[in-house]
């Protein structure tokens, strides 16, 4: 599989709420987003929710489902029906865990430029919560791994993706890249 870089953002400051890929080139078969991301929130526990919004959607047209395993381990199957964005709960690391903890993110959207079929896609990621400098807490109860699927209940091509945490701003050091495949 080969790909071409269509967009990238590296967060360096402390006030970025959203990473947005706009005016997405429509000339590829599929889209892929990969990178690392975290929230700077220090409230709650070591993980927060990931939101992905297509095309500045304002209606409840996004469905997400995932298999989530929590360290212990405790399995939880997550299903979110018809929100204005795709929701993956406890998908992102936060500064509550540590200043250097980041989550991996993989989003794959086949046939994203189609205007005749509804978009289906794959999302993977998770949190490995621990505290640097304290070896015994390298993996905590708040570690999650998720593999999920998404559906967009419209037949619109994807021209914009907004990716953001449910709480806090995006932590400096986060980096996401968008590729045409």
């Amino acid at each position: 599989m080969t790909g071409v870089l269509l967009g990238e953002e590296t967060v360096t400051g402390s006030s970025t709420y959203t990473i947005s890929f706009t005016s997405i080139d429509q000339n590829y078969d599929d889209l892929m987003v990969i990178g690392s991301m975290a929230s700077d929130t220090t409230t709650g526990f070591g993980a927060t929710n990931l939101y992905i919004k297509p095309n500045s959607e304002s209606s409840s047209m996004c469905m997400a489902a995932s298999s989530r395993v929590q360290y212990s381990p405790t399995n939880t199957n997550m299903t979110r029906l018809l929100d204005p964005f795709w929701i993956f709960e406890e998908m992102l690391a936060t500064a509550k865990d540590s200043d250097m903890s980041f989550s991996p993110l993989y989003i794959y959207l086949p046939s994203y430029a189609s205007s005749t079929v509804k978009l289906n896609g794959t999302v993977k990621g998770g949190v490995l919560a621990g505290t640097p400098g304290a070896a015994s807490s390298g993996l905590s109860t708040y570690s999650f791994e998720q593999v999920g699927g998404i559906v967009y209940d419209r037949t619109d091509a994807i021209t914009q993706l907004d990716i953001y945490p449910s709480h806090g701003t995006i932590k400096a050091g986060s980096k996401l890249s968008l590729y045409g495949i």
Binding site: F102, G125, L139
Partner: protein, 191 residues
Amino acid sequence: MAIGDGSVIIESGAMSANTLSMTAIPQTYSHLELQVTGCYDEASVANDWLYFKFNGETGTEYGFHGTQSGVGAGLTTNNIALNSSTATGGASGSYGAEFPGTQKSPNPNGVVRWFIMNYANTTVQKPFILDYCHVWRPNSTDETARLGNLVGKYPTTSTSLLTSGISQIDVIGAGSYTFKSGTRYMLVGWP
């Protein structure tokens, strides 16, 4: 890297010896993708761990967590939660993915796919997504399969190791296992 740049195969080739070292990995890409396909050249092994190390690090800095499902001896359905050297049973830490031997099939095809994010940064952890699978069922009772989905990060606890990008990846067979002809790897740089 600039908009319009394409992904690049940094190196690829056949695997045979117990250890493959990819050294002097360029620090100019945003993310890395490593694929390994094939099997161990071991007729007594259904499957065993395939280990990975970063930068030759031997400490317990290899945290990961996720699920493994499978069938076969000793495993019906399983979720694993792995961290540091616990995963691989040794004083020296590493990451692990299960990889097939030839006990169940003369030519099984294991697949490992690993995205290592923001690998060249020198300030924060390098998180990753590691997937692996292989399936073989020669008859109704003799079978082996593994499906693993893991997330993790490097380093797990050391702050001093943050100041280096990942410039070396070692792929190490379990025990003294070697790899059967046809086993291959590919390291891709994503701009």
